[in-house]
């Protein structure tokens, strides 16, 4: 029992730079990715042209593409830090888009009430799942999988399995805030729609909530050690419920933005959104087991995953390759953290072994036969 503790103490309190700044690993992978793409562009054009990957128009492009998954990734981060997961966000987004578009174009509810209806439907449905998850011992994976399938059913029922076309009532969400601005390099029109700003605003609020509020700090506690959290007076069940309610709110907002871009409420709207958001959060360093992660990491994950497809297009690679690249990057980004910590553990082990050998040699000189002892101790690697 005391063995592990002793090894830990010996492992030293000094940690490597990468361990101390948890986002540094992913950030460096992301930056090297950017450098590689820019390098490839420079090489392929013979250093003649400006690398379009980092041109303002392209960056704004990427931002428009990642804004909606990014919004949902913020709440997904919270859910996952609390130790949960939510597979239903994609279908829920489709459902919300159908509710809002039906509200506007069929039920004649008006724009604002329709949006309010869609968003509150998302909050209610997510809270219902959160209620079951927090009050039972069933895995969130299973409950939200069930949720995903039932939301698909509800959405199909409401829309009679057809798409719901709107007449651009939500265009105010996609208008260009910097009308008339042009890219200084390429001369193309720059677009900055409001939902990109909404994404940054939500990310900012989410990040501040996690770091600077009691609520946020408690999400970490619940995810790290639910039993200890309960004994420290935290209402673990309601915390779990709350993160799902927030998830509902952000899925509602995100789905409305998505609807505004496409102008059509359709079941395929949110397809694959759960995969993308979970991948973004995981790339950003949030642990599936809960307790670890932050919004800055998630932001890096969002931009990283969002720029892969874009970069592949720039390099004129077929779209099929994009899936492979996306998948590989998830694996690389997630293993990188583990590999670097294993390397540092290995180094500590080596250091300790050297130290133990030195003491053993000393002991031998002193005549005591204690060779066996330090070695047996070292068979336990530092945890």
């Amino acid at each position: 029992m005391s063995k592990r503790e002793i090894t830990n103490a010996a492992a030293g309190v000094k940690e490597s730079l990468f361990k101390r700044h948890e986002n540094l690993t992913v950030l460096s992978i992301f930056l090297s990715f950017v450098v590689i793409i820019v390098g490839l562009q420079l090489i392929s054009t013979g250093f003649a042209a400006y690398p379009t990957f980092i041109s303002p128009v392209n960056i704004l492009n990427i931002l428009q593409q990642v804004a909606v998954p990014g919004i949902i990734a913020v709440s997904m981060t919270m859910v996952m830090i609390s130790g949960g997961i939510d597979l239903s966000v994609g279908m829920l987004a489709s459902l919300v888009s159908i509710v809002v578009s039906l509200g506007i174009s069929r039920w004649g509810l008006g724009v604002v009430p329709s949006i309010a209806l869609g968003v509150s439907a998302a909050v209610v449905l997510e809270s219902a799942m959160g209620f079951i998850i927090s009050r039972t011992r069933i895995e969130p994976f299973i409950i939200t999988l069930g949720g995903m399938i039932s939301f698909q059913g509800i959405a199909l029922l409401l829309s009679n399995s057809r798409e719901v076309v709107m007449k651009g009532e939500l265009d105010f969400l996609t208008m260009n805030l910097i009308d008339g601005a042009r890219d200084p390099v390429t001369g193309l029109v720059l677009r900055l729609p409001p939902y990109v700003l909404v994404f940054f605003l939500i990310a900012l609020i989410g990040g501040l909530t996690l770091t600077y509020t009691k609520f946020g700090r408690r999400i970490y506690a619940v995810g790290t050690n639910p039993r200890a959290a309960f004994l420290a007076g935290i209402d673990v069940a309601n915390m779990r419920l709350a993160v799902f309610a927030i998830q509902g709110l952000l899925v509602g907002i995100g789905a409305t933005m998505l609807l505004a871009r496409i102008n059509t409420g359709i079941i395929t709207l949110g397809q694959g959104l759960e995969i993308d958001t979970i991948a973004m959060v995981v790339i950003g360093g949030t642990a599936l087991s809960g307790g670890r992660g932050n919004i800055v990491g998630t932001l890096i994950g969002v931009l990283f995953l969002g720029s892969i497809a874009n970069a592949m297009n720039m390099l004129r690679l077929p779209s099929e390759v994009q899936f492979l690249a996306k998948g590989l990057i998830v694996i690389i980004a997630v293993s990188a953290g583990d590999i670097s910590s294993r390397i540092s553990d290995y180094r500590t082990l080596k250091r300790e072994q050297a130290k133990a050998r030195a003491t053993a040699a000393q002991a031998k000189q002193g005549g005591a036969d204690k060779k066996q002892e330090p070695q047996a101790e070292l068979q336990n690697p530092p945890v």
Binding site: M1, K3, A9, V13, Y212, Y220, A221, E373
Partner: protein, 494 residues
């Protein structure tokens, strides 16, 4: 009766601890050899050496059937040395048959011979006079029945020695009788049984010989015939006085916590009170209901019946949140799993419990850090900054972080469950000093401990638990190891 297993001059050292010192021990075929000793006397370490889980230090020798051997978990099994641990190691969703045969399935051409395995399982169960069907899933068995299955497994695989570690802990008396009956059957088969139990009654009912361990040393070995309980208890006690802590005493104040007829979570009809300025020690064997009662008091488990009063007012603790608001603190026995957030910093850990007492929504990490630094200094926690992850601290320093967490809530009634478990000697002294400081500030302490010197030197009064109930209370000079042991394992009428 011939000897089957013998340990000769075996010692075991862990970094900083001498767990066993020069133990010689043997078991003969067809005998039940009981191992007795207090919590922490070295029984578990001895079992682990016998089962091959630990290797003894150089110089110790192990003989099996007269040959010198070295034991690994694998070779021990091959020699037919089966260990049945206190906690069941079972596959809950597999049947009895599958549990018995997993890892050594009967196969022909790579196919499992299910019927054959079933028949063998059934016949061994019948031999043990159990009417369980071998098809039942383990999940549906009581822990007594699971124990029978484990013994059946050991029998089926030609055992020479069966080691039973607390086989009857938390069993009903009927289940205990069944297990004892089975042990008798096993003995008739010429198998050597090593039997560990806190219940002296069982030792006298079933044992042939008893070896007493204390602080990792062998004190004595007696034949059971002609042995009395008091002799056995006398051998188990008698610690070195230097392990006792000299404690300052503080004037006793008003009653802080009153427990009236509390039942629930395995505890029955318990009543006591704790005054400000005193340590109420709670002794008893592991599993006697001490920690379970603490959970009830702290709102971690539901109360079935009875009342809890704090400063004379009746309270109801539906959750730990309510208990913390009522100024209670709970230093749990398993700090890594229930006390700390290992992956988080000292500052985060210290801040977490006090959150129920503050109404602010926004927290400043810099404030938490300052609080963390404050307790770092106050409790002499050895870490460079309050940003250090708790994972990287030693046991003693981790325990101080737990203390910091509770001091930060401004609590008045402290429950210490095993305050110095896994803590080095230096930190132990510091923790005791901190406890006395708490008393000086007029706080009340409930201390659950299995460490006899700790109970005796720190407690003003001691209540002893036995099987979920209070077996007796001791005060002042009456607090001795012998008295505590007699109450917790002996016959109460003796």
């Amino acid at each position: 009766m011939d000897e089957v297993l013998r340990l000769s001059h075996v010692s075991k050292t862990f970094p900083g601890v001498r767990a066993l010192e020069d133990i010689s021990f043997d078991v003969k075929r067809g005998e039940v050899h009981c191992l007795c000793g207090e919590n922490g006397a070295g029984k578990s370490t001895l079992i682990k050496i016998l089962s091959g889980a630990y290797q003894p230090d150089d110089g110790g020798k192990i003989y099996f059937d007269g040959r010198e051997v070295s034991l690994t978990p694998n070779s021990a099994l091959k020699m037919g040395i089966h260990t049945i641990y206190q906690e069941h190691i079972v596959f809950n969703d597999l049947s009895i048959t599958e549990n018995i045969f997993t890892g050594s399935e009967i196969t022909r051409w790579g196919l499992q011979q299910r019927r054959q395995m079933r028949q063998q399982a059934e016949s061994v169960l019948r031999y043990l006079k159990s009417d369980l069907s071998p098809e039942i899933k383990m999940r549906h068995l009581t822990s007594g029945q699971q124990k029978i299955v484990e013994i059946a497994k050991a029998l089926l695989f030609k055992s020479n020695v069966i080691i039973l570690d607390e086989p009857t802990a938390s069993f009903s008396s009927k289940e205990i009788d069944t297990v004892l009956e089975i042990v008798r059957t096993v003995r008739q088969n010429g198998i050597g049984v090593i039997y560990i139990s806190h219940h002296l009654d069982e030792v006298f009912e079933i044992g042939d010989r008893a070896t007493v361990l204390r602080d990792g040393r062998k004190v004595s070995v007696h034949p059971i015939t002609g042995l009395t309980k008091s002799t056995l208890i006398k051998d188990m006690v008698g610690r070195d006085p230097s392990t006792f802590y000299e404690r300052e005493h503080v004037a006793r104040g008003k009653v802080a916590l009153e427990v009236r007829n509390v039942t629930g979570n395995g505890v029955r009809n318990v009543s006591f009170d704790v005054h400000r300025g005193e340590v109420l020690g709670i002794a008893g064997m592991v599993g006697s209901g001490r920690s379970e009662l603490m959970e009830v008091l702290f709102g971690g488990a539901p109360i079935v019946h009875g009342d809890i009063l704090i400063d004379g007012k009746k309270v109801r603790h539906a959750s730990p949140k309510a208990a913390i608001r009522n100024k209670m603190c709970f230093i749990t026995e398993d700090r890594q799993n229930t006390g700390l957030f290992l992956d988080k910093s000292i500052a985060d850990n210290v801040a977490v419990a006090n959150m129920v007492n503050t109404s602010e929504i926004i927290v400043k990490p810099s404030d938490d850090l300052a609080t963390g630094e404050k307790y770092l200094k106050l409790l002499n926690i050895k870490a460079p900054t309050a940003r250090t992850k708790v994972l990287n601290l030693s046991g003693g320093n981790q325990q101080k972080v737990v203390l910091g967490k509770w001091f930060n809530t401004g609590g008045e009634i402290f429950i210490f469950d095993e305050p110095s478990r896994g803590v080095d000697v230096g930190s132990k002294q510091e923790i005791y000093k901190v406890m006395v400081d708490l008393l000086k500030q007029g706080k009340a302490i409930l201390m659950v401990s299995s460490d006899m010197p700790e109970v005796i030197s720190m407690s003003d009064r001691v209540i002893v638990f036995k099987q979920g109930q209070i077996a007796g209370e001791l005060t002042g000079e009456d607090i001795t190891e012998e008295a505590i042991l007699t109450l917790s394992i002996g016959d109460q009428k003796e």
